[in-house]
Each structure stands twice: as structure tokens, then as C-alpha cells.
């Protein structure tokens, strides 16, 4: 029981830090509340779809921005727009915020600005992926120890 309490405490503290540092917003909490016995892996499934989305869209953006003869900024913007939507849906606040700035550079057809944003969004995505994977590992440890996952408001 003590082990479960410790793990739950770690989970709560880690979740709180992700919110405090701006990695996640309330939308992620709403996702956690949707998880129940009928959909026990819902949050992990949503996160996996988000990771797939991110990787595909970041690759699309990179390819479009590599075009030396002429960047199709509408194509870049379309990918950023999708990524912004996905990141909003999962509560990935820092990724979403970079997308907002990224779209401005697309609109201004500023390739250098876009490249900087691409670098930033790649960095933020990697950070978030690592942190969510840590969070999910903690969840697994709690469940393996016979405990339940606390929902952090």
C-alpha cells in the first residue's frame, strides 16, 4: 500500500510539473477524465496518435522547406495548421504555441523564420514525448502495484 501511495504521489507531482511548466494544459486533464474501464488505454492511444501525427507533419514541413527553387508556404502552413489542431486536442500547449508563431511566418513567407519554428517545434515535440512516456511508465507502475491512477485537476 505504501508503495502504491508513493507511486501515486510521484505521478501527481510529475503531472503537476508538466502543467506548471506549460507542457500540458487542461485539455489533457479532460482526456484523462474520459478514460475509464470501457476505454482503459484511451490516453495512451490518443498520445500515440499524436506522436504519429507530429512525426508525419514535421517531416512534411521539413521536406517542403527544403525546396530551394521555391517553398510552397501554403503546403507548409497546411501541415502547421494540422499540427496546431492535434496539439490543441491533446493539450500540448507548448507545441501549439510554436505552431501559432509558425503560421505567422508561413503567412509572411519567411523561410528563415519557418526553419527556426520547425527546429523549435521538433524540440518541443521531443521533450513532450519523453515526458509523456515517463508519465505513462509511472501509470503502469501504479497499476502493476495494484493501485489506481489519480486524476490531477
Amino acid at each position: 500500500m505504501d508503495v502504491v501511495n508513493q507511486l501515486q504521489r510521484q505521478f501527481i507531482d510529475y503531472s503537476a510539473s508538466l502543467h506548471r511548466e506549460g507542457f500540458l494544459d487542461d485539455q489533457f486533464t479532460q482526456l484523462q477524465k474520459l478514460q475509464d474501464d470501457n476505454s482503459p488505454d484511451f490516453v495512451v492511444e490518443v498520445a500515440s496518435l499524436f506522436f504519429e501525427d507530429c512525426e508525419k507533419l514535421i517531416n512534411n514541413m521539413a521536406r517542403a522547406l527544403e525546396q530551394q527553387q521555391g517553398v510552397d508556404f501554403k503546403q507548409v502552413d497546411a501541415s502547421v495548421h494540422q499540427l496546431k489542431g492535434s496539439s490543441s486536442s491533446i493539450g500540448a500547449m507548448r507545441v501549439k504555441d510554436v505552431c501559432i508563431a509558425f503560421r505567422s511566418f508561413c503567412e509572411a513567407q519567411n523561410r528563415e523564420g519557418c526553419l527556426r519554428c520547425l527546429q523549435q517545434v521538433t524540440h518541443e515535440y521531443s521533450l513532450l514525448k519523453n515526458k509523456l512516456q515517463t508519465l505513462f511508465r509511472l501509470q503502469q507502475q501504479i497499476l502493476a502495484a495494484g493501485g489506481s491512477i489519480p486524476v490531477v485537476e
Binding site: 482526456l31 476505454s39 490518443v46 501525427d53 489542431g85 490543441s88 486536442s89 491533446i90 503560421r103
Partner: protein, 146 residues
């Protein structure tokens, strides 16, 4: 309040915590697998039977094949057939389902253009549990009148 083209601001803000209906059906139309899953789980929580479609053409084809849904959640930007085109086509077919547009927060005219295609309501994505429960309240009231 009901009927095509009503604005989102005309909804009554009724508490919908206990709106659970096992008779309603919904179609989630979105090219994002993440958004499809998200909205599907949201709606299933309220007891709806949910199908998904990855673009507007798939949604229109479902209706052509005789499917019917009480509620359609329609994304705006989709390949093959976007939400505006799909909504226009569904209304032209005589579909009277509640069609709710889901958009990103971009451009002042984005929601207006989508509403004019024949939506009942239009909201920013993702839909929150509060908005979903309000929509279901409206749907239940609308169905009781029929």
C-alpha cells in the same frame, strides 16, 4: 434556435451532466485519426452509437447508402471533400440531422462561411464535454418535438 444556420451563441447554457441517451446515433467526420478518436470517445461516454468517416465524401456516401444519424460532427478542412462541400451536399439531399461544424480558430470569416453551408452550430475544436452535453440536450429536445 433549432434548424439550419442557427448561430452557436443562441444555445441555452443548460447543465447537461446527466445527459445519457442510448438511442442517439452520431457520425464523426474528420481526417485526423486523433480527433476522430477523441470525439468518438466523448460521444460514447454519453451513450451514443458512433461511426466515423475520414472525409466529407465518405460521410456523404454513407447517407447515399441509406445510413442516418441524429448528429454529425463535421470537420471543415479535409481532403477529397471538405466540410463545407459535404454539408451543402447533405442538405441538398434533404438530410435533417443536426450538423455541427468543428473548426480551428483561424480567420474571422471561417465559421460564418461554414455556417452558411447549412450547419446548425459551429464550434472550435476540440469540443469540450460541456459543449457536447449542451448539444445532446438540444438534440433530445428536438427529437421529442418530432
Amino acid at each position: 434556435m433549432s434548424g439550419n444556420g442557427a448561430s452557436s451563441s443562441s444555445l441555452n447554457m443548460i447543465s447537461g451532466e446527466d445527459v445519457v441517451n442510448n438511442n442517439l446515433t452520431a457520425l464523426v467526420v474528420d481526417d485526423s485519426p486523433l480527433l476522430r478518436l477523441l470525439h468518438e470517445i466523448h460521444l460514447k461516454k454519453y451513450g451514443l452509437k458512433v461511426q466515423v468517416a475520414e472525409n466529407g465524401k465518405v460521410a456523404v456516401d454513407l447517407f447515399h447508402l441509406g445510413a442516418s444519424f441524429d448528429l454529425v460532427l463535421m470537420d471543415k478542412e479535409m481532403p477529397v471533400m471538405n466540410g463545407v462541400e459535404a454539408t451543402k451536399e447533405l442538405r441538398a439531399m434533404g438530410v435533417t440531422s443536426m450538423i455541427v461544424g468543428v473548426t480551428s480558430k483561424d480567420g474571422p470569416g471561417e465559421q460564418q462561411a461554414f455556417m452558411e453551408a447549412g450547419l446548425d452550430y459551429c464550434f472550435e475544436k476540440p469540443l469540450t464535454p460541456e459543449i457536447i452535453s449542451i448539444l445532446l440536450e438540444e438534440l433530445n429536445k428536438h427529437n421529442k418535438k418530432d
